[in-house]
């Protein structure tokens, strides 16, 4: 079974859980016999395995095709980079009309020469909607050039690409909902994004959601037939052998860590309010907010107003090993998300033997038993849980004993097997 997969990001160039999850899933799929995945991203950076780069000229559209031989992949998955000599300009309004035209008509349009290349930034910028649309044009070309049985698109950025590929090829489309705009915006949904999401869900043959929490959103907010929506939980890569600690804890204070984007969705202010409650009662504790985001400055001001800056640190964005370094120093990990479709990072914390507090409004709460779960708004409960873990050592003992095991039992291979079942189902529908 050949799967054409559209994503938006791929490690190491990731900004959040989407890239990690897509990567983990393709890795899991690569271990299943008779599943071949071709992964398409708008922009590849080229700092992966360069030896297997193979350029394929496909008409006027150059597509960089490279074989990725990443560690732990039992099979090389194809990794397509869209370098794109696409149209000099595509009027976004015209795009949908154009993309629906017959293949020949579209060719006419794309036959403009390579002078006017559009470079994909692969980032979540202001021109995002245009990029998404361009991406979908290239997708339809790729769909035409390659052979595959099924299309799998990750999140709304890639839905239009998936739809375009489906329209060109007539193959079944499975979309994978890692998040919806309801999670990101806290209810103030962007109508453009909603329209793209809704269209993807409507056209998709089957839908995968990362939790029942997200499944409910898809069913209730996007009015999708429940019978075509399935939950497949994410997993987490097993930890490589522990490297030597880079930093030593320079203090005997306990460290409580928030690790993630500092955005409305992640509920950073609830963490700060809980911290200030604890600091009224406890002294040898320090709070760390690791990450960056549009609410960071607001949060810094908030800690200053509460007068807790001497016990509260902001690290900025952490990358790669620094994440694990931070976890290694932590005594408690907290994720007070307001709306978290899944949330892989608590699993990473548990792998590092750090007890976690997660909000009930997260998908990961559905699969973890050895974690403390509170409502994101319940600052008293959050503070009390942090205090309990720091004060009563039996909790940490229990979490490290059972929590880690619980996480180790999750594997991308199991998730991939479930995805495979959904593929089979999608194929049998057509």
């Amino acid at each position: 079974m050949k799967v054409l997969m559209f994503g938006w990001e791929f490690p190491p160039h990731i900004s959040g859980g989407l890239g990690t999850a897509s990567y983990g899933l393709t890795k899991g799929l690569s271990r299943i016999k008779d599943v071949d995945v071709t992964f398409v991203v708008p922009k590849a950076y080229g700092d992966e395995d360069q030896r297997s780069v193979k350029l394929l000229g496909a008409g006027d559209i150059p597509i960089t095709k490279r074989k990725l031989n990443l560690k732990n992949f039992s099979k090389a998955i194809d990794y397509l980079e869209v370098k794109s000599g696409i149209v000099p300009y595509v009027d976004p309004e015209d795009f949908w009309r154009l993309s629906k035209k017959e293949v020949s008509g579209r060719y006419n349009f794309i036959q403009v020469d390579s002078e006017g290349k559009i470079i994909f930034s692969g980032k979540y910028g202001t021109d995002l909607l245009t990029e998404i649309r361009n991406y979908s044009i290239v997708a339809s070309v790729i769909a035409e050039e390659s052979e595959f049985d099924l299309i799998h698109a990750h999140d709304w950025l890639a839905y239009p690409a998936g739809i375009a590929a489906k329209e060109v090829s007539g193959k079944p489309l499975v979309i994978h909902v890692h998040a919806t705009d309801f999670d990101r915006s806290g209810g103030k949904v962007n109508p453009d994004v909603y329209a793209i999401e809704k269209k993807g869900m409507d056209i998709a043959d089957l839908i995968i959601t990362v939790s029942n929490f997200t499944r409910d959103t898809v069913i209730n907010k996007y009015h999708i037939n429940p019978a075509k929506v399935f939950t497949v939980y994410n997993a987490v890569e097993p930890l490589n052998e522990i490297q030597k600690a880079k930093y030593k804890k320079g203090t005997d204070e306990k460290i409580v860590t928030f690790l993630g984007r500092i955005t409305f969705q992640k509920g950073p202010e609830y963490f700060i309010l809980a911290a200030s409650k604890i600091l009224q009662k406890m002294d040898n504790v320090r709070f760390v907010m690791a990450g960056s985001g549009d609410m960071m400055n607001k949060m810094i001001i908030m800690t200053a107003r509460l007068g807790i800056t001497n016990k509260f640190n902001f690290t900025g964005f952490l990358k790669g090993d620094d994440v694990y370094e931070m976890l290694r120093l932590s005594d408690v990990y907290i994720m007070p998300s307001i709306s978290e479709p899944f949330g892989i990072s608590p699993l990473e914390a548990l792998q590092s033997n750090v007890p976690v507090i997660i909000s009930n409004q997260s998908g990961v709460a559905e699969i973890l038993t050895h974690a403390i779960k509170t409502d994101f708004w319940d600052i008293d409960a959050i503070a009390d849980s942090i205090y309990g873990i720091l004060k009563y050592p039996a909790l940490t003992k229990m979490f490290t004993k059972y929590g880690k095991k619980e996480v180790d039992d999750l594997s991308w291979e199991n998730s991939a097997l479930k995805v495979k079942e959904i593929y089979n189902k999608a194929l049998s529908l057509n």
């Binding site: 009224q280 779960k373 849980s385 205090y387």
Partner: protein, 473 residues
């Protein structure tokens, strides 16, 4: 003689209220009164009242031939006194019938037998006194919390003068032996041991309403048929269960009350079984052998061991932290502290921290006011931390404790003083402002700043009343 021994356990814990860490040191009241009262009221209505009535009628009807035994924990008696004295009366009426035996247990429904022999004996004594006071009976048979038993506990119970004790007919203890005989303690053979027939007991207590059970529906005829099928040499069938089985675990609609109502009639008509109380059995029957129980057993879960209460790190830590206070408690005379000490030992608090979700998850969840064992643990430990502070204040041992205790008294005195001064200030202010209200415009404008200040003052005033209220508790 072939006989049936019915024994019902009556117990309700004092459930703790949500107690956050910032309450530690400030709030010394630990219980969720609303929850406790409403649970009690619900169970009274669904179980205790209707079941007591049926039992009373049966006793009247069979004129002494139908008998049962109860063990009512001290915690339950205390809650009856607080919330439902009429239930106590109803149990008293049963006691007066002469066909109901009341057993001894620990006052707090605690696990103290596993930890502290002396404290165990005292708790049992307190409970027996309570039983005597309320039901005019001096218990001669003992049952430990959750039927926990070991050879060693048996020895202590025997030394206290009880002639028999109840426990579980656990398979791993009995092996090929049958629970349907009287046994005795391995070290003190004078202590008779009655073993629960868990198959027949659980058919009523757990499986009665289960439609997936192949024997459903269970009728009294079918049940007595099973009794008749027992080896004719077997002498006693011990049916031990929670009293809440009737109407609460098995709802009224399942027909459980009818089962209870018609059981004696079917037994008398269809078999040669009689009904006896535990003390009668201990007197009339000869023990067939000693039973060896080197490690404690209980009536809980598949394992019939202690893991429901002391099976994980949370429970171990809470348990050892609790009993690390015993030394100071034994010297403490403060009645409020001793009362809390009692209710904090109740086994249910440890049960809520159980993490054996998978095999016995359903049963545990049903009785559990917490969402997770972790929440249960944190809440309990917060309460215990406050309790420890109070105990240290009352019984300072180290120099720092003494110093702290002194300071706490000092702070309390200062708070009182502050409160007095504030009310005096307010009074004086009123006196000042009154004559001026009739004065000129200038004067009235002077009053305003005084008025604007009052909210601030009343705030502190409120604060200090809070402190004084807490102290009363």
């Amino acid at each position: 003689m072939r006989t049936i021994c019915l024994y019902f356990q009556v117990h309700q814990p004092f459930r703790l209220k949500k107690y956050r860490f910032f309450n530690i040191g400030n709030d010394h009241y630990y219980y969720d009164d609303y929850l406790n009262e409403s649970v009690m009221k619900k169970i009274i209505e669904k179980c205790y009242f209707p079941a007591n009535e049926i039992l009373f009628d049966l006793i009247q009807k069979y004129n002494g031939k139908f008998k049962v035994a109860f063990s009512i924990s001290g915690v339950a008696i205390k809650q009856f006194e607080l919330y439902a004295p009429e239930v106590l009366k109803s149990f008293k009426k049963l006691a007066e019938s002469g066909s109901v035996e009341f057993l001894a247990e620990t006052n707090a429904h605690s696990l103290v037998a596993l930890k502290d022999k002396q404290a165990f004996c005292e708790q049992v004594k307190t409970h027996s006194q309570k039983i005597e006071k309320h039901f005019n009976q001096s218990p001669s048979v003992f049952r430990n919390t959750e039927l926990i038993y070991s050879d060693e506990i048996g020895v202590t119970v025997s030394e206290m003068g009880y002639k028999a004790m109840l426990t579980e007919g656990a398979k791993h203890v009995l092996g090929w032996k049958s629970p349907n005989y009287l046994y005795c303690n391995a070290i003190k053979p004078r202590l008779k041991i009655l073993l629960k027939n868990f198959k027949l007991s659980d058919d009523i207590a757990f499986r009665f309403s289960s439609k997936t059970w192949e024997e459903w529906p269970l009728t009294t005829e079918k049940f007595v048929g099973w009794l008749n099928n027992l080896d004719p040499k077997e002498e006693v069938v011990n049916l031990f269960m929670d009293y809440e089985t009737f109407g609460e675990h098995q709802w009224h609609e399942t027909g459980i009350f009818d089962f209870l109502k018609f059981l004696p009639e079917t037994v008398f008509n269809n078999s040669n079984f009689t009904f006896s109380t535990p003390s009668e059995i201990a007197e009339k029957l000869q023990p067939v052998s000693a039973i060896h129980v080197p490690h404690p057993i209980s009536w809980a879960d598949e394992e019939r061991d202690l893991t429901a209460w002391l099976g994980n790190d949370l429970q171990e830590e809470a348990f050892s932290k609790l009993y690390s206070l015993s030394g100071k408690i034994s010297k403490c005379k403060d009645p409020a502290i001793l009362e809390d000490w009692n209710w904090l030992q109740t086994s249910d608090h440890f049960y809520y921290m159980c993490t054996k979700f998978f095999s016995d998850g359903d049963v545990h969840e049903y009785f559990n006011p917490y969402e997770s064992p972790y929440e249960a643990f944190i809440n309990y430990m917060n309460v215990l931390s406050d309790f420890e502070i109070r105990l240290n204040t009352a019984m300072p041992e180290t120099n720092t404790d003494k110093e702290l205790a002194k300071l706490r008294v000092l702070v309390a005195e200062k708070e009182d003083l502050l409160k007095k001064s504030i009310s005096e200030v307010n009074k004086l202010k009123l006196n000042i402002s009154k004559p001026k209200t009739s004065g000129t415009k200038k004067a009235s404008s002077k009053v305003t700043p005084g008025k604007t200040k009052t909210p601030g003052i009343s705030k502190t005033g409120r604060k200090s009343t809070k402190v004084s209220r807490v102290k009363k508790k």
